[in-house]
């Protein structure tokens, strides 16, 4: 990756982009913009770019209200080989889970190829995966 003139290789290698913002609704737009930019640069079609932007928005908006006060929203983007995986997570004050019997969860699963919730004692998260070539047209 440090090789001179090696920019071309970027598309084929996995890249990790990680960002952390205060877990507040006001900062979700920054995450959204990053997600859309990464998708457009992976040459996702415009529907897919817009779908990912909305999915990330939805995932973050689901997590932020559950975050412990004064903590951060962490978003990791794994980009490569025609797919983008987004891992969003927040710290929680007490053990809880991501609600999945909601309209928001339906939005997430419709907009992505894969969506699942994670949780442990101290945090909850949502992982999304979108592929450039979507299986269901």
């Amino acid at each position: 990756m440090i090789a001179p003139g090696g920019q071309q290789a970027e598309t084929d290698t996995h890249a990790l982009i990680e960002m952390r913002v205060a877990a507040s609704a006001a900062h979700i737009s920054a995450v959204r913009v990053v997600a859309a930019d990464l998708a457009a640069r992976q040459d996702f079609d415009l529907d897919a770019v817009s779908d990912l932007r909305m999915a990330v928005d939805e995932a973050c908006a689901t997590l932020v209200p559950l975050a412990a006060a004064g903590t951060m929203l962490s978003c990791r983007f794994l980009v490569g080989a025609g797919r983008i995986e987004v891992q969003a997570s927040v710290s929680v004050a007490e053990r809880t889970t991501v609600p999945q019997n909601t309209f928001g969860w339906r939005v997430l699963t419709t907009l992505t190829d894969e969506a699942f919730a994670t949780s442990d004692r101290h945090s909850i998260g949502i992982t999304l995966c979108v592929r450039r070539e979507r299986t269901e047209g």
Partner: protein, 255 residues
């Protein structure tokens, strides 16, 4: 449309008279009104060609009419050319300028505004041909510019004024689909959702078009491009409306 030339022949003598009268002649105003009214269908036709690009139809018609008035004022029948061949580019130019200059809520460099218009046109053309939304690389190939330019142009589109929610829905006569038709179809899918009871009241509180778009996307499983074609607005507009609607629903659900 084939009758465009023959339909306006009766107006040609008026131009001769209009041009022959001195600037301050009282009959000029009357002739000018008659000419503008007579050629109005041309302006409206041009305005319709620019529909579905996120600008209210009334605004486009007004701008096209301004273009027509300018064309009537500036046309010189002695030059020998036909009025329509002068008026059409004049009106079209006026509408294009409107898109470029007036429809931006944020200051955006002129180059990007032109690119935005070009991208918008390429997106709708490519969507038709491909049957799905185009990729940035495909738009770049079509416009013969770099993908980087397209990405920049798409970003600039975000500064384009987000259209008001009560913007009139145009073009349903030509598509043959009304928003209500689409709704019936998606509603069946909604019935299969177990938590429909909690969602339904919220959906019912939405304006009809927003509800239709939401149902088609999340219960009818159509892509944004397919919805754009069905509802008669651009994909970018569908994208904005969906994002706005989801945000509004979240706010309501949080209460």
């Amino acid at each position: 449309m084939t009758s465009q030339d023959s339909g306006y022949e009766h107006l040609a003598p008026l131009f001769k008279e209009f041009a022959s009268l001195p600037e301050d002649h009282p009959r000029r105003q009357q002739l000018r009104d008659e000419l503008v009214t007579g050629y109005l269908p041309v302006a409206l036709h041009i305005a319709r060609r620019f529909a579905h690009r996120g600008e209210p139809q009334e605004d486009l018609e007004q701008v096209a009419t301004v273009g027509l008035i300018n064309a009537v004022d500036r046309f010189e029948p002695d030059r020998g050319s036909d009025f329509l061949s002068y008026a059409v580019p004049t009106i079209t130019g006026e509408v294009r300028r409107h898109f470029r200059d007036q429809a931006w809520s944020m200051r955006v460099p002129r180059r990007l505004k032109d690119l935005h218009v070009a991208i918008g046109a390429a997106v709708s053309e490519l969507s038709q041909n491909l049957g799905r939304a185009p990729r940035p690389s495909e738009i770049a190939a079509r416009l013969q510019c770099s993908t980087e330019d397209v990405l920049e142009g798409i970003e600039a589109s975000a500064a384009y004024r987000s259209t008001s929610l009560d913007e009139v829905l145009t073009g349903d006569d030509s598509s043959g689909h009304t928003a209500a038709d689409a709704l019936g179809q998606a509603d069946q899918a909604l019935d299969q959702v177990e938590y429909r009871e909690s969602v339904r009241p919220l959906l019912e509180s939405l304006p009809e078009r927003e509800r239709t778009i939401l149902l088609l996307r999340f219960f009818g499983n159509l892509t944004q491009t397919q919805i754009a074609q069905q509802v008669g607005i651009s994909q970018m507009h569908v994208s904005r409306l969906l994002a706005q609607t989801l945000a509004a629903l979240r706010d309501n659900l949080a209460d």
